[in-house]
Every structure is written in C-alpha cells, then in structure tokens.
Symmetry: C2
Subunit: 378 residues, 2 copies
C-alpha cells in the first residue's frame, strides 16, 4: 500500500481510498501535461468552461470582496486573477507544476500581484498563513472524477476553509444515458482487422523464422479488445444520439463530500427508452457543476457548467463513451435498469474501472437476463 | 542525484553517468510500452530487423551449439528461441516487464522450454547460476542510443559474460548526413500557425474575460519552437534526400564499450556536398550494427543490420531528423565541417540532447561563421 500524502492523514478516512502513487510516477503519468502552455491554452479556449467560471465569480462579487481565497491547481492563474479583479483581499494560488512560474508572470502582467500569491507545490504539502473564505478550483476531469483531483480539493477544504466558507463550484453531478453510436461497429471492425493482420503475421513468422506465435493469439485478442472495446472513448456527442432518459448517477455537495464516497461510486438507474427500433450501442457519461454558494451564504446569481451533449459543440471534456458489445435492441416504451459501479483502478488512483449491468425490461414487463459491460477510463 | 541500480556499482565508472531515475518513474516513462503485444508485434514485423538477427544466429551456429546464452530484454522471447533452435544448451531470457509471461508461453509453445529459462526482472538485479558464452540483445533505440538500454547490456556483460565470450551484435556505428527535406518549412509553418492562433486567443481572452495573456507570448513561442523545431523527428527517408557524404560519428566495440563513452558522444565530421544549388534543411542520424563475433571467436558468416535511408522502405527505427533552421545554402564542391555532441538529458537518462555546430566551407576555401543547432531526442 502506498503512503497517503502529508497534511491529510487526519482529515480523510483512509480505509477505502486507493493507495497513492509515488510522486515521481504521479508526475510522469499525470502532472507533467499541465506544465505545458499548449495544454493550458486548450482549457483557456473552452468558452463554456471559461464563461461558467467567469460569470460565477463576476456575478457573485459578494463572495469575494475583501475576502481570502484559495485557488487549488491554479494552472495559468486565470481563476485567481478573476477573484482578485472581483475584489478579493488575498488569493493563494497553488500549482504543483512549473506552470506556477507562468502564473506568476500572468498575475504580475495583469497588475494583481499585490493580491495574488502564487505558490508552487502540492496542495497536500503547502502551508498557508491563514484560513480562507472561498476555495475555487477547476478540478473536474472527464466524467467528473477522472484524475481524482477532487481529493486535493477535499484536503484543501478540510485544512484551509473557514467553517462558514464557500466552495466554487458548490455542487456536482454525474450523469449516464444510453446512446446510439457508430463507434461500436467501428471498433469491432478495428479488432477484426487487427486479428486478420495477426493471422498473416503468424503465418509469416512461422514460414520465415520457424517460430509459431499462435500461443499468443488469445492474449493478443484480449489486448486488442481491451484497447478498442473496453476502454472509454472521448466524444462530443450529438444530443440526437441519446435514446433513453439520462439519469443522475451521483450528486455531490462539495462542502461535505469525502474521499471515500468518490472512491467507489455505485448507483441503480432507470432509463426509459425514447426512440423506436433502435440499439443501445453505448452509454455516455458526463457531468455538470453548479456555483450556488452555501446555504448560509448563497450565490446571488447561480451559474451552472454543463457538459451534456450539446448541438453547439460542447466542451473540451466531451463525454465519455462506454461501448456495449453486442448492442441491445430497444423500442420506445422499453426501459433499461442499470446497475452502475465506478471504482479507482488498482494500479493508479487517477484512472477508473467501470461496470455497467444492463437489464432490458420491455413495456410488457418481460425482463431479459442482465448484460455486463466492463470498461476502463484510461 | 539518483542511485545507481544494484549489481553494477563496481563494474562501471559512475563519474560521468547521468543519474538513474526511480524505478517506478522509469516504468511509467519507458518500460511500460514493452509490456504490450502490439508493440512487440511491431518490432517482430520489421523484416530487416528480424532477418538480421535470424541470419546472424542461424548462420553462426558454432557460437551457440552446446553453449550458455543470455538474452538481455527478451521481450516476446524470439531471440532466445532462435538461440535454442541453433543448438544452445541453455538460454537465460531476461525481461523487465510482464511480457515475460508471454515469452514463457511462446517458449513452451515452440518446444524449447527445456532450454530457455525466462526470468522476469531487471538485468541489473537478476542473478544467474552461471556465466554465459554469448550475450544476445536487441537493445538499439532510435539513432542507436535513445533509451540507453545498452547500459543494461554493459552491466550484463561485465557480470555474466565469460572472458572469451561473444556479443550479438558485436559492433555498432552511428552515422550523420546533411539532407534536404520539406519538414523544416512545414514545421516553421506549424509554429507560425500556432502563433497566429495564439494572437487571436489573446485578443479574445482580453475582450471576453478581461485578462491580458500577452506576457506569456514569449514562453508560448519558445514552447512551440521547442516542440516543432527543436525536437527530433522520426522519418523513413528517401536516399535521394541525402545531399552530402554521410560520416561515422562513433564506432563501438560491444565487448569493450563503457557507459562513460556513450553518455556523451562527441565527434568532428566533414560532409562533402554532393548536389548543386541545394539547402541543408536538416541532418539525419541513423545506425548500423554488425554481428562479427570476437577476434578469438569470429563469425563464420558476418551479418549487418543497417538502418540507413533505403529505397525499399526502411525499418521501424527510421532515421532521426534534426531540423536546421534556417537552412544552409550549399553547392556541389562545398563541404560542411560539423562538430557533433550528444549527451543524456538532465531530467531523464533515456532521452538525449544534441548539439550540431555546422561550418560551411566553400570550394574556394571561404568559411562561414558556424551555425548551432540544438535538438532534443524525446
């Protein structure tokens, strides 16, 4: 079992949490991408994302005026700068990568370096001179929880948020919906193509080099199926692809949430089917977050950031697509009873393993044997 | 400074060697790819590579008959199987990743499990029951030394090769040549395109969100130039692109080579230009290896594996291309005096930093000021 990072040992319940990886490995696998301006720009160019945070802050200045703020994972520093411009007294902007240097330049270049203090370090290790009134963070990964960055926000909240403090965002929801998609057939074709190529390869290797590779066929097929069919796909879906009523998998109050409750997420869902003579070839997962403030200190203007399939294009998060193979034939009036489970990958806590058990129930009441779909979010 | 891996502390001179990274990081950055059958198949499908090793072994059975062999980094186990089929008494096939399980299956499936023993582990840690007559390994990375796998072969040689033992391959050479290429212009365009996009991004971010990103322009440009122009490219070049006589940067005797001599490789080269009114828009780097056996125990049939630009397509290694920006105008009869230096990247010993100083000398004798090209092999 790995060690929990410093500073959070007492404040979260360790029992169900996946082991934390070595910091060097975490950097190689995760943090390093965030050190690139190219990647930051991609997120800064996401208008839906930018609009949501910008409006949430600028339309709720009462939360920021003369207050102390903590920006967890400040990246380029954009949120911290907005908080300063909204009237904050002090903003602590924590960033684990060398992007912190650029954040410092950006803060200075926008004349708020008297307010914003950029601190390079891991949120779990950093020590602030005071508790804060607001914690703001853009921590959401694909399907909300990929990257498990919210662990660091929980850590920050438990250590540094005043008892009457406010979280930005304040709430989050994960959604699931059955969809139709050409991707399943496409990926099946890619597996078959790969296996055809493998068969030629076996013949040639035997013929030219006297070595029979066929004992590896099963493993090669499994590796291909894992890669093409059992790994989630990133898509920006068209709303027309949704063929059953989306359902909320989980609702989260960012002021109360614990690491335990996000380590393993389970839910029972029902999706009435809205379209006739179709096939569920996949499930789509996405999230939304709300900026509502707290009960004692609510937002004056509530803002939502929604990543559902959208005809106007979507966000850089897209949706996560979990292929169902073979597809499930459905008609209007049918429903699918879903047992959903997402847990952290054993090898690495920032990746996820998903299990979706689908039970088709016809409008007549007839139920079919459940079908299990297992997919990894890599 | 990292620690040197066990087992090699006494046998190599540590002074000039780059620090070794943490094993977990090394796995995340390097070894993990080799755990995929897809990647192994790519290498097994390289006919030039396969032919060279297959012929080297099968045409020199005297090196293997009744002998003990060590295969460093056995991957799928193919080399080990060929050695067994060539008559080896015993083959120790060492593999750091879970590919070792597949190697074991392949060995058994080809009826040589009484001869080939697959050992999962790091070459630096493994303990063999005896010294060996032959060390065989396919350790070459792009431009020969990328991945720095030969360190592990040196370690194996110094610990496990009998005094009169033989290395497969026995020798290696690194080559450089000036080339013409459309890539330099293409990559310059990509930088310019990216900077145009950045300029629009700055305007929009100021306009919509009140934040001026222009202080980051210089850093963004540097990141782009590093990515597009100062990182080596993989290509399978056409021989017609070579416009000056290739020269050998380094020759290596695998029986004698030390880690020190491959940590930093320097050379002075001269490339007479073979084509009129052209431009050196890049340098190409590649390697070849020979299977000559040793002086006391030579090969009966010498084989060479050559990765030079080839009209018949090349190998999975391709060549490494180092862009020269701006290009250097040359004519037939001119020559380029090159000062070449390659050293290991500070952050990670498996990657390289290259510096090429080019001095154009006309046929008249006139010399131009030297031009420095710095490129990273990532």
């Amino acid at each position: 079992m790995g060690t929990r990072e410093n500073g959070c040992a007492g404040s979260t319940q360790p029992s169900a949490a996946a082991p934390q990886v070595d910091k060097g490995v975490d950097f190689a696998n995760y943090f390093c991408t965030y050190g690139y301006l190219y990647h930051q720009k991609e997120m800064l160019s996401d208008r839906v994302r930018m609009d949501a945070y910008f409006h949430a802050v600028s339309r709720n200045k009462h939360h920021f005026r003369d207050k102390a703020v903590l920006d967890v994972g400040t990246g380029s520093g954009i949120l911290a700068i907005w908080c300063a411009q909204a009237g904050a007294r002090k903003v602590y902007a924590v960033e684990a990568t060398k992007m912190a240097d650029h954040a410092r330049e950006l803060v200075k270049g926008n004349g708020v370096d008297d307010i914003v203090e950029v601190i390079e370090g891991s949120m779990e290790d950093v020590v602030l001179p005071e508790k804060v009134d607001v914690i703001i963070s853009e921590w959401m990964g694909y399907f909300l929880l990929r990257e498990s960055m919210f662990d660091s926000v929980i850590c920050a909240r438990d250590r540094w948020l005043k008892p009457d403090g406010v979280m930005y965002p304040s709430h989050a929801r994960m959604w699931l919906a059955p969809i139709r998609s050409g991707l399943t057939d496409q990926k099946m074709d890619e597996v078959n193509c790969s296996m055809n190529d493998w068969r030629s390869f076996i013949e040639e290797t035997e013929s030219y080099y006297g070595v029979n590779m066929s004992v590896l066929t099963k493993a090669y097929r499994e590796e291909n199926e894992k890669y093409f069919l059992k790994t989630s796909l990133w898509c920006n879906l068209d709303p027309h692809q949704i063929i059953g009523t989306p359902a909320v998998i989980k609702e989260m109050d960012c002021l109360q949430a614990t690491v335990d409750e996000i380590c393993t997420v389970t839910s029972q869902l029902v999706h009435p089917i809205n379209i006739d003579r179709s096939r569920i070839s996949a499930y789509a997962g996405w999230f939304d977050v709300q900026f509502k403030g707290s009960e004692q200190n609510p937002a004056k203007d509530e803002v939502e950031l929604n990543t559902a399939p959208d005809k106007d294009g979507g966000t850089h998060w897209g949706q996560q697509v979990f292929l169902v193979n073979p597809p499930i034939r459905v008609n209007e009036g049918d429903k699918v009873n879903v047992s959903f489970k997402m847990s952290r990958a054993k090898q690495y806590h920032r990746l996820m393993d998903i299990e979706i058990i689908s039970e088709l129930e016809l409008s007549s009441g007839k139920r079919f044997p459940p079908v299990t779909t297992k997919v990894a979010i890599e």
